[in-house]
Each structure stands twice: as C-alpha cells, then as structure tokens.
C-alpha cells in the first residue's frame, strides 16, 4: 500500500533496532561459582516479587528452620517467603531496600545460628508427570518461585492458563543479553541438567509439548553444556530444542525473544500467552526443578558481582537476604576507583545510594562502576532520530521525550508510551545524553496516577449519583404516600366507611380495661421474680 514500506524493517531478521554492545562477561566468568559464607543476619523483604507483599507467619523471637515458610502469599499475585537458613527471627521492621528511590520496606530479620538445620520439606515428586498440572503449579507457588531474570513475577501465575488460548510453546530464556551480567551463563555451565529438567517440569505445568531454550552466541560453554544435557536425557512426549541466537541487546527481552524465535509479535497491550507462548528464565527453570524434585523452596540464587570497581568479579551462589556489602566483601571488596553501585546491569539496572541493602529474588547482578559517567548535563535534543533506529519496539523515543517533557501525557500515550520496555537503547545512543528512559518512567507514573484518580473520581461520582437517586426515590415515595393519604381523607366524608381498628365507644373502653389488666399482671409477675419491689 505504502510505496516505501520495504524500508520499514532492517534486513536483519529477528527484531528491529537493538545494539551490539561490548559484553564484559569474561570478567566475571573466570572464577568458579562458590556459595557465599553464611551471614550473621539475613534480611528478607516481604515484597520481593511483583504483586502483594507476603504476610508474615512467624513472630519475633521464634526459632526457624532452613526452608521453613516465613510468610505466605497474599492475594492472587504474590509469592511466599522461606527461611534461607536456620536461626531466630529477631525483628520484623522497616529496613532500607534495593530501590531506585532508596525506599524502606517491611523485612523479616533472621539471626542465623550457623547450623543450617533444615525443616521438613514437601516430599519430592520424581513422578511429577503423573500429577495434574494444577498440582504442579501449586507446588511451584508454594516454593516461592518467581521469575529470576529480573522481573520477579510469580511463576505459577504465569503458568496459569489464560482464557481463549491454549499455550503451545515454552521459551526458556538464557539469552542474558545485558552486558556484565553472567549469572545465567554460569548457571547454564554448572547446572545444565537441572535447567533441562526444570524446562520439562515447566512444560508439564503449562501443558505444552514444545520448548525452546535460547542462548546468545557469546556463551559457547553454556550452549555446549545445555546441548549435552539435552542429548543425555530422555523426554517422552516433549520436544525440547536449543536455539543459539545472535548477540544483540535486548534479545533477552521477552517480546524481542519471542519475535526472534517465532517471528510473531505479542499483540500491543497483550501478553505472550495471547499468542500461546510463555517465557521463563533459565534460573527459574532450575528453581522449579529444585522445588519439584527435591522439595526445596527458593532460598538462594546466583548473583553476578562485577565491574571495574570490584576486586574479584565473579558469580556467587547467594542466600536471599544476604546484605550486599557482605557479598561484595567476599568478592575481594571494592577497588579505590569504585564510584557507582548498580543493582542489575548497565542498561536497565538502577543505582543504589549505599550497599546496606539485602539481596532479593530479582537481583541478578551487582555492578560496581569505576567512574561515574554522564557527569556532563544533557544538551538539547537535536532530533537526530538515532533513538528510533535502535528502538526494538519501533517507537519514536524522541516524540515520547518531547511530549513527556511538555507533560502532554495523552500525546505520549498516543505514541504508545506503554509499549516501551525501558531497555535503554535510545538513551545510550542519544548524542545529547538525555536520560530518555527517566522521562518515560515519569510519564508512565503520571498516567497511572491520573488513571487511579480518575477511577476514584468515577467511583465517588457513582456513589453520589446512587445516593441522589435513592433520595429522589424516597422523596417520591413519601410524596406518593402523602398523596394517597390525602386522597383517602378527601374520600372519607363522602362515604363514611367503618374505620378500621376503630370501633364504638364501649368497645374502646373494654379494650382499655383489658390492656390495663394485662399491664398489672406483667408488673405483678416481675415483682414476684425480681429482687426489687414495686409499690
């Protein structure tokens, strides 16, 4: 239809835009993955997943065993929390959390006893194939498993079938496209069999027969390990395949990965499930395997500690709730050059003001940069359009920026602000160094706020209207009653019907006597039984 439509897409198959970035993975993949020494105190945020915070089930002073349920999921979208080690609950209080605004949040604090005493765990289900999918999802939910790629969305909710569309394909995401982060890489190298088993379990929980495991081509060791694990196992009725994808940020974005592997796009405003696809991270698959085959809940994860500001960059297995400063100390501590601490990678991570915050389920990376970049202020936008060229969603980041800046939020929404995945490609190529993603987050937050206010206003308006309607109705009924009475009175002299309940004078006297008689009897009865006397 349009004469130039063939210029719309780059010739490179996959997804449009994106960046080829120096991946900086070697720094942290040279050392073996070791567990972190047990910290004296574990700080467990009640809200370390998407959805409602977990509700604590233990009291301060109570002894807890490793793996014991500490807090239960609250509401439809939530996840429970388990004790990463044995010890005593010493506090339930607000502590600083890893959050862009340095917020504090409700945390359970456990003083560890060093005994690593396990509590009773649910029985392992080696026969999980014989169990219904719903039971499997319940097990994953009970184990506190959330998306470990960074989103921390409760896995069981994501596996839950959506109406109108049966799932067909599970994509297990081992792309790990963001520079510096290497925890998934190391997990794939060290626990490939468990990832593959976990993939089979997730397939069963989802009710699909096909799964693709995607790995970027800059992780040959991980890909080889997974290929070997896939070849070693036997998965009746399941078709599991390893896909090596080109290294291009953000290939690990859920929607980009789906486009890359299937050539299909998730409809705008929809979910991958709407096209029959569900994505899960490799670490989530491994955690699902642990929950089903060993009964172990989610109490630890692999965390990348890297960057020029860290003495010994490496991937560690970390108990949830381990303070970041202790984790970094065990990686050789900071170098003198350390200037900036990010939770997450350099593209989508957020800066931490200090390191006295605990590791949470979504924490895949702690990145310590040597120099603080972008010290120079942003210069004006020169409308060069470099941002659009790299946008994997095909947005016009520049227009979004102008509208967000001018607070023309509806215009920003019209330019599909809410389709922005905040990958940061636009901002990293902006020659004016404008923090574009910040503007989008601001605009989104404002719009959400407006939406909330509108909803509340609509609710108040509905209530007001209902009240007005009720008052009007009551008034009308009252008026009608009055009208009827008036009509009855007006009609009375014309036809003096015998009044109801009102009879002749003698009858009336008799009735009064009878009533007095009854009252006396009642009084006498009370006087006879009661402690007091009457006259």
């Amino acid at each position: 239809m349009w004469p130039f439509s063939r210029f719309r897409r780059p010739p490179d198959p996959g997804f449009p835009g994106g960046l080829r970035l120096a991946d900086h993975k070697r720094e942290s993949t040279a050392r073996p993955v070791r567990p972190v020494a047990l910290p004296a105190e574990l700080v467990l945020a009640l809200s370390q997943h998407r959805g409602a915070p977990a509700r604590p089930l233990v009291a301060v002073g109570q002894a807890v065993a490793k793996g014991q349920l500490l807090a239960r999921a609250e509401g439809a979208i939530s996840a429970p929390l388990h004790a990463p080690s044995s010890g005593t609950v010493v506090a339930l209080e607000d502590r600083p959390l890893a959050h862009p605004s340095g917020l504090r949040g409700s945390c359970l604090v456990i003083a560890t006893d060093g005994q690593e005493r396990w509590g009773p765990l649910p029985e392992p289900w080696p026969d999980y194939r014989q169990r219904p999918a719903a039971q499997l999802r319940q097990r994953l939910h009970g184990a506190g498993i959330v998306g470990l790629g960074g989103a921390a969305f409760p896995t069981a909710v994501k596996l839950h079938p959506v109406p109108h569309r049966a799932p067909q394909l599970l994509i297990v995401n081992g792309a790990e496209c963001e520079p510096y982060i290497s925890c998934d890489d190391m997990l794939m190298r060290t626990r490939p069999g468990e990832i593959v088993e976990g993939t089979a379990i997730l397939c069963h929980g989802l009710g699909v027969a096909q799964a693709l495991i995607a790995v970027e081509d800059n992780k040959p060791e991980a890909a080889a390990a997974l290929a070997a694990a896939l070849a070693a196992g036997h998965w009746p009725g399941l078709e599991m395949e390893l896909h090596i994808i080109p290294t291009r940020y953000p290939s690990g974005g859920e929607r980009q990965l789906i486009q890359l592997l299937t050539g299909r796009e998730v409809p705008g405003g929809g979910l991958p499930a709407d096209i029959g696809v569900v994505c899960q991270n490799v670490a989530t698959a491994a955690a699902a395997r642990d929950a089903v085959l060993t009964g172990r809940p989610l109490i630890s994860r692999y965390v990348t500690v890297t960057g020029e500001g860290v003495a010994e960059p490496q991937v560690r297995e970390v108990l949830l709730g381990t303070p970041v400063n202790q984790l970094i100390q065990q990686c050789g501590g900071y170098r003198d050059t350390a200037r900036q601490l990010l939770m997450g990678g350099p593209m989508m991570g957020f800066p931490l003001a200090h390191d006295r915050v605990p590791v949470v389920k979504s924490c895949n990376c702690l990145l310590v940069h040597a120099a603080a970049p972008a010290a120079q202020p942003a210069s004006p936008c020169i409308r060069c359009g470099a941002c659009h060229e790299v946008c994997p969603v095909g947005l016009l980041p520049q227009q979004l920026y102008w509208h967000a800046q001018a607070r023309e939020l509806e215009r920003a929404r019209d330019y599909q602000l809410f389709d922005c995945i905040e990958c940061g490609c636009c901002a990293s190529v902006c020659p004016s160094r404008i923090p574009l993603v910040q503007y989008y987050r601001f605009a989104k937050t404002e719009l959400w706020q407006q939406q909330r206010e509108q909803r509340q206003a609509a609710l108040a308006r509905d209530r007001h209207q209902a009240r007005q309607a009720r008052l009007a109705r009551e008034q009308a009924e009252h008026a009608a009653r009055l009208q009827r009475k008036k009509a009855a009175l007006a009609a009375a002299p014309a036809t003096p019907a015998p009044a109801v309940g009102v009879s002749s004078g003698e009858d009336r006297q008799a009735a009064i006597r009878a009533a007095r008689q009854r009252a006396r009897q009642r009084k006498a009865a009370r006087a006879g039984t009661g402690p007091g006397t009457d006259d």
């Binding site: 130039f4 900036q340 601490l341 350099p346 800066p351 390191d355 972008a374 936008c381 330019y415």
Partner: protein, 329 residues
C-alpha cells in the same frame, strides 16, 4: 560508602552532539578545497567572517538568555551554520553581507526559537534567503571558475566595501541557463561541463564525497539525500524525455549549483528535517522536486534554499503522519 546515583542506562555509545557537528564541519573540507581551487581564496575569508559572526551572535544570545556559554558554543552548531552559509554565498560577496546573513541565521533562525534543537527552519538557509532577497545582484555575482585570487586581494575586495569588481564576476551555469530560457535561446554550451555545470561539477563531487562519508558514519540520515537526489533526477529525466530542447538532463541537475551541498549538508540537518524514516523520504523527495521546479520553471537560478525552507514547514505534519508501526500494533 556512598555512591553516585545517576539514572540508567549507564552505558553510552556513539558520538555526542559536538562530535556530530564536528564531523559535518570536517566533511565540508574537500568541498572548501575545491571552492578555493576554482574560485580563489575568497571562500577562506568568508569562512573566517562567518565563523566570527556566528560565534559572536550565538554568545550574545546565550548571554542574553542567561544560558551557559561554554557548553552551547562548544557544541559546534553555530560554527557549522556559519560555515554552511559561507560556502553558499559568492566567494567575493561583501563581508558585511555575509556577517549580516550569519547573524540573522543565528539570532532569528535559531536562538529566537529557543536555540539548538528548537528551530523549525535551517538557520543557514534562513540567512542565505535573507541575503538572496535583500541583495539579489551581489548574491548572483559568482567568480568564474578558474579565477586565481590571492588571499590579500580577496580580503581587500571582501572587506573593502567597493563591491565585486566586474573582472571577478560572471554568471553561474544555472544563471546562464535561466537567462537563456527566459529569452528563448538555446543553453550556452560553454558553461556546461562533462557532468554538470563547468567547474561546479567538481564542487558537487567534493560535496558528494564528504556527504557519502557522513552517510557512511551514520552522521546523516541516508533517506534524505537519496530521496532528494532521486526525485530531482527522476523529474529531470521525465522532463527531458518530454522536451529535450527545453530541459536539462538529470546529471546536469545533480552536479550543478547547490545540489550536493543541499542534499548532504543542508537537508540532512536533523533539527529542521523530518525524523521518521518514511517522513525523511518524503521530505527529501519534496526538496528534490521543488529544486527542479524552481530551477526549470521558476524565476531563480537555483532553488535549494527555498526548497529546504518550504519543506521545513511540512515537517510537523510529515512526522505525525509517517509514524512507524510499533511492535505488536
């Protein structure tokens, strides 16, 4: 320990604004060399005048607007506008005119709209157009190709205020063609080179070389020059096929006048051009078509400045009507 808290992403790749402006300025160098070779050292004097005027006007405006001087002057955009105007005007144009045009370009064309990034029109072409309509005679007196003018002589003429000596002025090929067309004569053969206008073909080749480098380094969007040159050549070819006696061939149009300067250096100014891929194609094609129209049917010998300014007007509409398809929509 406390850490620096800047927003994500923390990874920057690609050139900054001043590097981009620097690249465009650098890409002018081959053409400047050819201009000096063909038309003498006047071009260098114009470059100096325009640079000084542009930086002074920019600094004054920034000071009046209470904006930081160093970062804005350092972005190189004012200097680039000055240079673009300097290579557009006749090499021996009186210096005060060049200065006037440059100051107008910076003050009215750019700073009054809010400075870099906010001007709807290409500043250099605003300045050029002001000069063209204010001083039509001086602006059409180009030195004939092959003139050798020493630097002191050029400076004396430009700064002297006595105007351009007749010995150093002649009609450009496009000018001569327009004259011939208006008088119903055949185009003068001696002004035509093997590719475009005599002498001017080299200027255009030099601008093309610099421009291709800009496209290659992704400093300039390829869509704009491609569409502009394509539509100019296409229209010229069509007209040539219809009436070969009256219209010039496509190659002449491509390698005469300000075609290549306009295609790669003026129309690609990101601030005043369309920003969407399809918008850029339409924008470039519109400029090419207008250039052909003005040259072949209009009253001015060349039309790049007018074409660019006219298409600048359409940019907001182009941008909002050529929005690319968004993922999943």
């Amino acid at each position: 320990m406390e850490f620096f808290r800047g927003p994500a992403p923390q990874l920057f790749i690609g050139a900054g604004v001043s590097a981009l402006m620097g690249r465009v300025t650098l890409a002018l160098v081959p053409a400047i060399a050819v201009l000096v070779w063909l038309f003498g050292n006047g071009v260098l004097v114009q470059l100096v005048i325009a640079s000084v005027a542009a930086l002074a006007a920019e600094a004054l405006c920034l000071w009046l607007r209470d904006r930081p001087l160093a970062s804005s002057l350092g972005d190189g955009s004012a200097l680039l506008s000055g240079w673009l105007l300097a290579v557009s005007v006749p090499p021996l144009l009186p210096g005060w005119m060049t200065a006037l045009g440059t100051v107008f370009a910076i003050v009215v064309g750019k700073q009054l709209y809010g400075g870099l990034g906010h001007n709807p029109f290409n500043p250099a072409m605003v300045g050029y157009t002001v000069l063209l309509v204010s001083f039509p005679l001086a602006m059409s007196r180009w030195t004939p190709p092959g003139s050798e003018i020493a630097l002191p002589e050029a400076a004396r003429i430009i700064l002297g205020g006595a105007g351009i000596p007749d010995a150093y002025s002649g009609a450009t090929p496009l000018d001569a063609l327009r004259g011939a067309r208006q008088q119903g004569l055949a185009p003068p053969r001696e002004l035509l080179g093997w590719l475009g206008g005599r002498g001017w073909q080299w200027v255009n080749l030099a601008f093309l070389a610099g421009g291709l480098w800009l496209v290659r380094t992704r400093t300039a969007a390829w869509q704009i020059p491609a569409a502009m040159l394509g539509s100019l050549a296409g229209l010229a070819l069509l007209a040539r096929l219809l009436d070969s006696g009256r219209f010039q061939d496509p190659l002449f149009h491509l390698f005469s006048g300000a075609t290549m300067l306009g295609a790669f250096f003026i129309a690609t100014d990101p601030v005043s051009a369309s920003t969407t891929p399809r918008g850029r194609l339409i924008y470039g094609a519109g400029i090419g078509a207008l250039v052909w129209l003005i040259r072949s049917l209009g009253g001015y010998p060349d039309g790049v400045a007018f074409a660019v300014l006219l298409m600048n007007i359409t940019v907001p509409i182009l941008d909002s009507h050529t929005r690319p398809r968004v993922y999943g929509r």
